[in-house]
Symmetry: C2
Subunit: 204 residues, 2 copies
């Protein structure tokens, strides 16, 4: 990596800690920050400060919000009988954006990944089990990511939820809408085939 002024290198180091940001992108962004007008830099710093000051964690579902409970937990219009368990707030936001779910959420704060030293006790699983035992909760939808860690986290949760008086479901696996079968991963196609739906008159 090239030698840059010390202040640029320091900022690059901070930026490179961000998820998915390599050292080269970090350097590009550090030089971008240097190129900002004072007014623009103030806006950026202000926005960081504001997020830190205002965005808090909902003590019920662990969503990030500016209120506690968060607007979803506080809403009277939501179906309180269903909890959708997601790894991250971003997953919650994506499901909300789909407009296809009207229940409540529970944000785990990650997934079980022993190789990265993330264990069940690092996640909000206790809170989930407590909520799943509330009388109004009828179903828990496990919406962890469809990858190795997400699946093993889902399995762990299924074991923990099995003894409770609550229905447990997982998201459907299949080919993504708008995707192309030609480019789908083998595991995606395997899931789509094993989970195929009958549509012939005989099946209806």
């Amino acid at each position: 990596m090239a030698k840059s002024p010390e202040s640029i290198e320091k900022l690059r180091t901070e930026i490179a800690k961000m998820p998915g940001i390599g050292i080269r992108t970090a350097e590009r962004l550090a030089y971008y920050v240097q190129s900002l007008s004072n007014e623009e830099a103030r806006k950026l710093i202000g926005a960081i400060r504001e997020v830190k000051a205002k965005a808090i964690t909902c003590s019920t579902c662990f969503n990030i919000s500016e209120t506690d409970p968060c607007p979803i937990c506080a809403s009277r219009g939501r179906d309180r009988s269903t909890l959708c368990v997601v790894e991250r707030v971003r997953d919650l936001a994506a499901i909300e954006a789909s407009g296809s779910y009207r229940g409540l959420y529970h944000v785990l704060g990650g997934r079980i990944a022993p190789l990265e030293r993330v264990y069940p006790e690092d996640l909000t699983i206790d809170g989930l089990l407590r909520r799943a035992q509330e009388s109004e909760v009828k179903e828990v939808i496990i919406a962890t990511n469809p990858d190795t860690e997400g699946d093993s986290t889902a399995n762990f949760l299924m074991d923990k939820l099995a003894p409770l008086d609550v229905a447990v479901s997982v998201l459907a696996r299949g080919v993504p809408a708008g995707g192309q079968i030609e480019h789908a991963a083998q595991s995606t196609l395997a899931g789509a085939i094993s989970g195929r739906r009958g549509v012939s008159a005989k099946d209806k």
Copy 2:
């Protein structure tokens, strides 16, 4: 895009202004900032402030530095007879990191790109022409990026430098070291073939 708390959305907007950062990456980074400890957030803000306070532009070569003139312009160990013209400070840093150049630099601040409304007068071309006329300068190496805008900027500079008493050169084009011919772009291969070097005994 999903609905996030207002402070997260604000920060996302600021981050999405950064070059090469899409709205999804910006959202991921905004949530990352939210997840930082107060201490970590302070470090990030401090690093931004420091870059803005300390990193300045060298009034000679337009390098970014914490001193003016920058360490390269101020160095007694550099070959002052050669100027290497680059688009951006990052390009300068990359050439420095290669350890293959001991002359001085001149940072244009971008490239001519009329479609993006970047015209010659937006770059530091006047400063370059002034420096190129200094008696100690014997050669100007044009090291703009090997793409359409970079090439037309190089052509523009060649025209401007032609009347001056200075040698002008451009970087060699060819297949990149460590690359694979199979994956090289057609234009890269075309440049490599037209610029081929004789190595037979006859050529030596």
